[in-house]
């Protein structure tokens, strides 16, 4: 009995939270046209979020690619088809690892920074001060950051995948001795525009989700130091789970 009421209460809370997110998303989208006349604000945010995550994205891309090179080579060798290493690495990076790992790193680096920044603006009355100056913080602060993340994510994912392929090549070709001609030509023959599009769509969706979650958590943070800390943690936890869940859904739809 107790369990049932608890379950019911938590289900209710979840529904309410999802509803709050949906409403907030609508408000943000409604404010997007108002923010478009000032592309400078958005570009500054693309630069901010992109620069924040660029180094870790590049490093992680390289390492993930190298691991793919090793594992892929070991696996493919058992079937005697090492030349397919390029195809295997490119497809797994473009379709799956690129968007997903980039999104997770993005949530951990840029997302937390966004949530903390906005939460701090809330805690120090900066958002209230904007309201008092008749400036809508949604349009001036939230939308540019949301769009910035939305634009930066696919770019970062592309960089991740490219560097990952380079890493796989480094291990497969340079270290394990796969024929470079086969590595590249097979890859070029097998990878289709649709595969690239799948990755692009995924990373755009993840970018929208991660940015939305980060700005939502920051915007609704309790106006205290603890509240800002909690918002930061929540943004990375929620983003990670949602990215993995949505990744499955998108894969199932697009496969």
């Amino acid at each position: 009995m107790r369990l049932a009421t608890d379950l019911f209460a938590s289900a209710q809370a979840t529904v309410r939270a999802v509803g709050a997110y949906a409403l907030f998303a609508l408000r943000v989208l409604a404010a997007v046209p108002g923010a478009l006349p000032r592309p400078g604000l958005v570009i500054a945010q693309v630069y901010n979020t992109g620069a924040l995550s660029l180094v870790i994205i590049m490093l992680s891309g390289l390492f993930v690619g190298m691991v793919l090179g090793l594992q892929g080579f070991d696996l493919l060798q058992r079937f005697g088809s090492e030349e397919s290493l390029g195809t295997a690495a490119a497809l797994s990076l473009l379709k799956e690892l690129g968007p997903v790992v980039t999104a997770l790193l993005f949530a951990g680096r840029a997302g937390t920074a966004l949530a903390a920044e906005i939460g701090l603006m809330r805690a120090t009355d900066q958002l209230a001060a904007m309201e008092m100056m008749a400036v809508d913080p949604l349009r001036r602060v939230i939308v540019p950051r949301f769009l910035g993340g939305l634009i930066a994510m696919p770019l970062l994912a592309a960089i991740f995948s490219l560097i990952g392929i380079f890493g796989a090549q480094l291990i497969g070709v340079q270290l394990m001795g796969v024929d470079p001609g086969h590595f590249w030509s097979q890859m070029r023959a097998a990878v289709e525009v649709g595969d690239v599009m799948e990755g692009a769509i995924k990373s755009a969706v993840f970018g929208a989700l991660c940015s939305l979650i980060a700005v939502h958590e920051g915007y609704h943070a309790l106006p205290t130091a603890e509240g800002v800390g909690r918002a930061t943690t929540r943004s990375v936890v929620i983003s990670s789970v949602i990215v993995l869940l949505v990744d499955y859904l998108l894969t199932a739809v697009m496969l």
Binding site: T124, D125, M132, M133, A134
Partner: protein, 276 residues
């Protein structure tokens, strides 16, 4: 005894009119029936002990919070009937100095003061610079224009925030604790600035403060907020001469009297004995 200065049915002369204002958060009543009239072109002081709800009252006056009951009229407009657009239009004629300054941390001093102009006007850069530097000069911080908010002391941040609050030449200027953290010189400057802005630009000022001596020197009208109500209002001298024990206690800063210094608390012995 809330209002004897203004004729009760003359809202034309009133910048702000508050009737029977109630506000509660989390079941705790903070304001319980505030009536307040602010005459145009006056400096009205709202005084009161810490934590009585002065900041809350200002947030209600500016539509940042919605009252649980009662009516707030600013410039003859009922805030509860205004749409968000209407509220924003009204706020463009208001300036507010926040208790902690609330400067935008990603902009430097100059850009902070320029912010409302950039958002609401299309002034050419030369004119904009002239306006901003003039306002910074008025608060004595023209030389600090390229500092970031993190590089300012609390008092400097408050003065920058004041420059920002007046940059759009508002008709109603609201100050939340403008004197806290100011050294005697800047305090004198800010006091004179409040009076000068008020008289020269013909605007209306509402100043929240518990610095009785400073505020009574500039205010035309003082209100004492305590226990969720305005317990006294009138010209500063009338308040000082008041025969009410509560008012005397606050104005003279005596620790004992009807105005509680302590937040409501259970009996000390009970609280101390209730270990574990």
């Amino acid at each position: 005894m809330t209002q004897q200065a203004a004729a009760p049915e003359a809202p034309a002369g009133l910048a702000v009119r508050v009737r029977d204002l109630h506000y509660a958060v989390n079941g705790r009543t903070i304001l319980a029936g505030v009536d307040l009239d602010v005459r145009r072109r006056s400096v009205t002081a709202i005084m009161g002990p810490s934590g009585t709800g002065k900041t809350t009252l200002l947030r209600l006056l500016t539509g940042q919070l919605r009252p649980t009951r009662g009516q707030v009229e600013v410039d003859g407009q009922d805030l509860s009937r205004l749409s968000r657009t209407g509220l924003f239009a009204l706020r463009r004629r208001m300036g507010m100095l926040f208790q902690q300054g609330a400067l935008l941390t990603d902009l430097d001093v100059y850009e902070n003061v320029a912010f409302p102009l950039r958002e609401h006007t299309r002034l050419p850069e030369r004119l904009l610079r002239h306006v901003v530097l003039t306002k910074l000069q008025a608060v004595g911080l023209r030389g600090a224009w390229r500092l970031t908010p993190a590089e300012l002391s609390g008092g400097m941040a408050r003065r920058v925030a004041l420059a920002r609050a007046i940059v759009m030449d508002p008709r109603l200027l609201i100050y939340d604790e403008p004197f806290v953290g100011l050294d005697p010189v800047s305090l004198g400057v800010v006091l004179r600035l409040i009076r000068r802005l008020n008289d020269a630009l013909g605007l209306t000022s509402i100043v929240v403060s518990h610095d009785v001596r400073e505020i009574t020197a500039v205010a035309d009208h003082c209100c004492l907020l305590s226990g969720g109500r305005i317990i006294a209002a009138g010209p500063p001298r009338a308040l000082q001469a008041s025969d009410s024990a509560e008012v005397r206690q606050f104005v003279r800063g005596e620790p004992d009297g009807p105005v509680p210094f302590h937040y409501p608390a259970p009996d000390y012995a009970v609280q101390a004995a209730a270990v574990r």
